[in-house]
């Protein structure tokens, strides 16, 4: 009895935090039921993760931008433009992959710093500054692809990023568990173990300082729930071709950014600026400097997104990146980032991106008309923000 009561209490107090997981779970269960298991099949989940990749990467960067009370509308076409630059560098300049990728990422950082210059130094609202970027990069992508149209990328290594899977340690049919991707399983298991050890350490540390922690039974429930979810996804993926390179890239980005925002001094400063810019300034934080950092990282992630997209299509098109920025912003808001600033987690945005992409994928599988799909996605976004505002008001 007290277990259920505990669960209710924790859920009510942390509904903002756990609401997303529950929503994703419900959506996935719904589509699995409506498509008679097709949705949860190894192939579809693998596909879904690959599609989520380039939006998720943008959403991660966008989270930080929104947390410091800014917005960046230029990221979609910037990603498309940089994807085209990558294609040109590979095809026409003949540069090798290992040069092209750092080059494009560096260009992304520069583009981000440019926006940051306008915002921090000139005091232009980020909405306007990035709208200018949106127009400029849209023009730029059409300019660079004007002569050639769609550029086909023949480079195998580059295309593997968006389409390939990590190799297995054993041949697929040999060794224990034939037909299952062993390395994926091992990595998944390692990930779960690291997660559990981390959580236990964090709990100990909090207790040492008399901070509030979850009751023991809830803590175990959380560990079991997350482990089961991750384990389930890993198992499904291992049944197909294992972890894709896109998933690996997204995971690395998410883990790095999650670490930065939740553990480091930099992360604290970013949230402090979002919470109260004046207070942050008065405590000796350089808001300008952090604006550069956040927009720079946004630019770099835009470049990464462009690379993932170009690699997935194995080509650079004139319309690449259209509406990516709005998908990323929607994913961040669905993932619990607050428009008022100072609130939002990287993990949440990843889940938000998964929710939006699951909706698209599921409705495609069910054969729902594209116009209805937009209506549903719009309604979900509105519901997520209403939920956010309502829970915040109750919190005060």
């Amino acid at each position: 009895m007290s277990f259920i009561k505990n669960a209710q209490k924790i859920l009510q107090e942390n509904i903002r935090e756990y609401g997303m997981f529950i929503a994703l779970f419900v959506i996935m269960a719904f589509f699995t039921w409506r498509t008679e298991g097709l949705f949860i099949s190894s192939r579809n989940i693998s596909n879904l993760l690959n599609q989520t990749g380039y939006i998720a990467v943008l959403a991660v960067g966008m989270t930080l931008v929104i947390v410091i009370r800014c917005i960046d509308l230029s990221v979609g076409f910037l990603a498309g433009f940089l994807g085209a630059v990558a294609a040109i560098a590979l095809v026409f300049w003949g540069l090798p992959v290992y040069v092209v990728i750092p080059l494009v990422l560096a260009l992304g950082i520069v583009a981000g710093l440019l926006t940051a210059f306008l915002v921090a130094q000139m005091g232009i609202p980020s909405f306007v500054a990035s709208l200018a970027g949106w127009l400029i990069y849209r023009g730029a992508i059409q300019l660079v692809t004007a002569g050639t149209g769609t550029i086909i990328i023949p480079d195998e290594a580059f295309n593997a990023i968006g389409n390939g899977f990590i190799p297995d340690i054993f041949p697929a049919e040999a060794g224990p568990l034939p037909g299952v991707h062993k390395l994926t399983l091992i990595l998944g298991l390692l990930g779960i173990i690291v997660f559990i050890v981390n959580e236990i350490n964090g709990r100990r540390k909090k207790q040492a300082y008399n901070f509030e922690v979850l009751p023991m039974d809830m803590f175990i429930l959380k560990l079991v729930f997350v482990s089961a979810l991750v384990g389930g996804i890993i198992w499904v993926l291992a049944g197909y071709q294992g972890l894709s390179w896109t998933a690996v890239v997204v995971l690395i980005v998410v883990l790095v950014y999650d670490f930065i925002t939740s553990q480091t001094v930099l992360g604290r400063h970013i949230y402090a600026i979002g919470g109260n810019p004046e207070a942050a300034e008065l405590s000796g934080i350089s808001v300008k400097r952090l604006t550069y950092v956040v927009f720079g990282s946004m630019g770099m992630l835009s470049a990464l997104s462009g690379i993932l997209f170009a690699s997935r299509l194995q080509s650079a098109t004139t319309t690449a990146g259209t509406l990516f920025e709005l998908d990323a912003i929607a994913a961040a808001f669905v993932g619990g980032v607050s428009a008022a600033g100072g609130v939002g987690k990287i993990m949440g945005s990843l889940i938000g991106a998964l929710v939006m992409l699951s909706l698209t994928s599921g409705m495609n599988l069910m054969g729902i008309d594209i116009s209805l799909q937009y209506l549903v996605r719009g309604a979900v976004l509105a519901a997520a923000v209403i939920f956010d505002v309502a829970t915040r008001r109750r919190g005060k």
Partner: protein, 523 residues
Amino acid sequence: MQTIELTKRYGNRPALEKVSFTLSAGEVVGVVGRRGAGKSTLLNLLAGLHTPTAGTLHFRGQLLKPRGLYQAHRIGIELVPQTPLLSEPLGVLDNIFLGREIGWLRPDTTRMAERAHAVLAELDVHPRLLAQNTRELSDEQRQVVAIARVLCFDPAKPAALILFDDVFTSLSFQRQERLLSLIKTLARRGTSFLIASDNLKHLFAVTDRLLVLYDGRLVSDQRTAETTPREIVELTVGSTQHEQVTPIIWALESFHQAQQQAEELRRVQADLRESLEAQGSLNQQLLARLRAQVDALNQLNLALQSTQRRLMTERERERKALARELHDQVIQDLLSFNYRLEELEGAQGIEAHRGELSALRKSIRQIVGDLRQLCSDLRPPTIDTHGLSAAIRSHAQEWAENNGIPVQLDLQSDLGRLPEAIELSVFRIVQEALNNTRRHAAAHNVTLTLHRTPTATLLLRLADDGQGMPEPVDLAALSAQKHFGLLGISERVALLSGTLKIDSKKGEGLTLQVEIPSPSPLV
């Protein structure tokens, strides 16, 4: 630290005009001025929060280009603004160390907490402040966090200059004192302070020098020891006229005094309330315990009463049985012996023993008579058949005849029948009371009344004109002298939940009044 002709204008309005002064290491300098005289502007310029319109700042011999608080913090200049601004999504500890975390990548929470504990202890603040939600802090707690922020520096690398912009007002009096002594300690270790405040008393207690600003201009810069509060106030107000300055000094002094007193009062009040509450709860506990004991006693009493009542009924039943046994068995047997003796008397051939037999019969009849008396004592024969009034009447008559003392009877005629326990008890009370009168009173007249009152009680009053009793009547003493008469009466009365009243004066007779709650008469 040196400023040369520091000027700041907001639009056309000058806030600070050509202010120049120097500040050496470990010096504590106060800044005084009226509201709008430029105190906050000066501090904000020094902290790099604002850019001066003209003039330069030099720090440790180098020209200082103001590039935000961020820069100032890095070279050791710290500002505590007038109103503390905190970042609400972050915890209190993170707020204290915001922008100055220990550790470059991951903040070292352990060391941060240790240092924060030390600083909070200096300010006499409980460390549980760190566990509170930033959103729920009081004004004073916010100010404490803001002050702790600039004091939480690495002891090996103390801040060079700390600017306090009127931070005392929202602190409690004791904490103000703590902060002042902390300022003195830190100044001795080489940290300079610039303190803007209206509290001249504090400034005179802690500063080495005082700067006076008047309308954005520095009008005085002198050592604290060489000046007086009056002079400072004169400069602050910009007038030396006695009638203008005196009220201000007086007002300032009395204001701070009043503030201090109010603080003290509040503290004492809180203490008082606390101790009152403690006492109240103690009282309540005692009362509760007492009540519990009284309850237990009551219970015991009730149990005792019911036992006694049972005992009494039992005794009456015994008496009744005994009386019936005597009457139906022994007396009948004796009477039949008597008849047989009578028959024998009339028989032939016993002439020699006739006289003896006749004597024997006489003594048998004597025994029968005695036994009958005994029976009626054991159980008034009339009470079962005719009721209480008849029994009392017959007993009183007998008593009067036996003792030669007339008894006036006033018995309610329509008394009716009462529960057996009450009837018997009242009868026994009358019996016992008359017994007492016979033995001790030496009375000439006895009046006995028995009435039903309008309040559903039975009132029995027995009055005599005898020698009375010494007052007050002490039942315990009587029982010690083995006089159980009154004690028995009082026990019976108590068993019927009635009241007993004895009215007596030496030589003026005695009135015994018994009131017993009684239900309506049985038909």
